[in-house]
């Protein structure tokens, strides 16, 4: 038996599998959280380094993504939240944004949505990211953000409405119902 391939610890194997399967999703979450590719890369790396130290606490691998996102959010708050300028003001966004222009679907609605997302206040953007990218339920988002489920539902509702309003150029300003 070749000692090189003989065995890596099960913890190492589990860690490798998590990195290979979830680093892309975490990067996307980090990118939309901080708005910067390089910082998102650092955030994901630091998240996994911290996750390694606490990997024994992960009992349910199905919950790994939510667990890692929780770590990433805390890292973001700890490291970057204060010093990061948030996304560029909508009036300053160059229409020929290089990143969007490189994407095949850049001519479509997704390009406009990305720009609208950058404009969305973080208090709306983050619960939406947690739901759409993280797969969190309203209750889980509420727990994570230390809000009531009703408040989370209101923020999710408003987030979508604001996005659609921005996409429609303000034509869809409507009543936002408080959700109970």
């Amino acid at each position: 038996m070749n000692p090189v391939t003989f065995a890596v610890s099960s913890k190492q194997r589990q860690f490798d599998a998590l990195v290979r399967s979830l680093s892309g999703d975490l990067f996307r979450y980090g990118y939309w959280l901080c708005g910067d590719e390089a910082l998102a890369h650092d955030l994901v790396q630091e998240t996994f380094l911290r996750a390694w130290r606490a990997l024994d606490k992960l009992r349910d691998t199905a919950a790994a993504k939510a667990w890692l996102i929780t770590i990433l959010r805390r890292e973001h708050a700890r490291l970057y939240e204060r010093k990061l300028p948030q996304f560029t003001d909508v009036d300053e966004i160059d229409v020929s944004d290089e990143r969007d222009a490189q994407l095949p679907e850049s001519a479509g609605e997704e390009n406009l949505i990305r720009r609208a997302m950058r404009q969305l206040d973080v208090k709306y953007r983050e619960p939406l990211l947690m739901q759409v990218l993280g797969g969190f339920s309203c209750e889980e988002i509420a727990q994570e953000l230390n809000l009531t489920p009703a408040a989370v539902m209101t923020q999710l509702f408003r987030a979508r409405q604001k996005l659609k309003t921005m996409l429609d150029g303000g034509a869809r300003e409507g009543v936002v119902h408080e959700l109970s």
Partner: protein, 238 residues
């Protein structure tokens, strides 16, 4: 659920799986139409958020992780000198020096955990072998010839060790010197796919692991000369 409640839920979670949500959609054509529109928007939203991750992101994370682990091991090695002193005090004071598993079994477990070091090819200076043993409180009389590609002061469960990988034509040999436990007798063994040899040496135990045991005799002789005093060597030969 009425139309207002449905539209609220639609804004909160268009993919809601609640029975009431589904039932209302079946009963109300206008809400069903709104639902279809909302799902189309969700689909666009997901695509918009799916920015591409950097190439080799996973590889770079795994490399960073391995680098940090190596650094931590080295720091642990330095701290372990103090830990050794503390453990010796404990052992002499309250007599708790028993271990659950035979040393070769513990060593194989350690080799599994540290399997990555067998893939390393960068040569370490031979002089670091003397440094590593010095950190374990052992002054080598000589440095057995390398080349070495890994030199570490590793904890192995409750034991303190020096762990080396020495390269050669027949493949790498892992050398583990357990500082704090001397085996009762010299023995060769075959364990978990490894050829192994355990040798009481000095105040501890030298263990050799490889796929091919042909170099064990030469390494044993070199290490005995390095670790034991000339008087001990005479004793071992007699």
């Amino acid at each position: 659920m009425n139309c207002l409640e449905f539209r609220r839920q639609l804004g909160v979670d268009p993919q809601s799986a609640s029975p009431e949500f589904g039932e209302h959609r079946q009963q109300c054509a206008r809400c069903a139409e709104a639902h279809a529109g909302a799902l189309a928007f969700e689909s666009s939203l997901r695509r918009a958020l799916a920015v591409p991750a950097p190439a080799q992101l996973a590889d770079s994370i795994l490399l960073a992780h391995e680098t940090v682990r190596q650094r931590d091991r080295r720091q642990y090695g330095r701290r372990a000198v103090l830990a050794l002193a503390a453990s010796l005090v404990l052992a002499s004071g309250i007599g708790i020096y028993g271990h659950a598993q035979p040393l070769p079994v513990e060593a194989v477990g350690h080799l599994r955990d540290e399997a990555v070091v067998l893939t390393w090819t960068k040569l370490e200076p031979d002089s670091d072998v003397r440094v590593a043993f010095g950190m374990r409180g052992i002054a080598l009389h000589d440095i057995p010839p390398g080349p070495y590609t890994f030199i570490g002061c590793c904890p192995m469960n409750k034991h303190l060790t020096v762990h080396l990988v020495v390269q050669g034509g027949s493949g790498p040999v892992s050398v583990i010197y357990v500082v704090d436990q001397r085996a009762d007798a010299r023995e060769d063994f075959h364990l978990a796919g490894w050829q192994g040899r355990s040798i009481p040496m000095g105040h501890g135990t030298l263990m050799l692991f490889a796929q091919d045991a042909s170099r064990f005799d030469g390494l044993e002789q070199a290490w005995r000369a390095a670790i034991e005093s000339p008087a001990d060597n005479k004793l071992a030969r007699s």
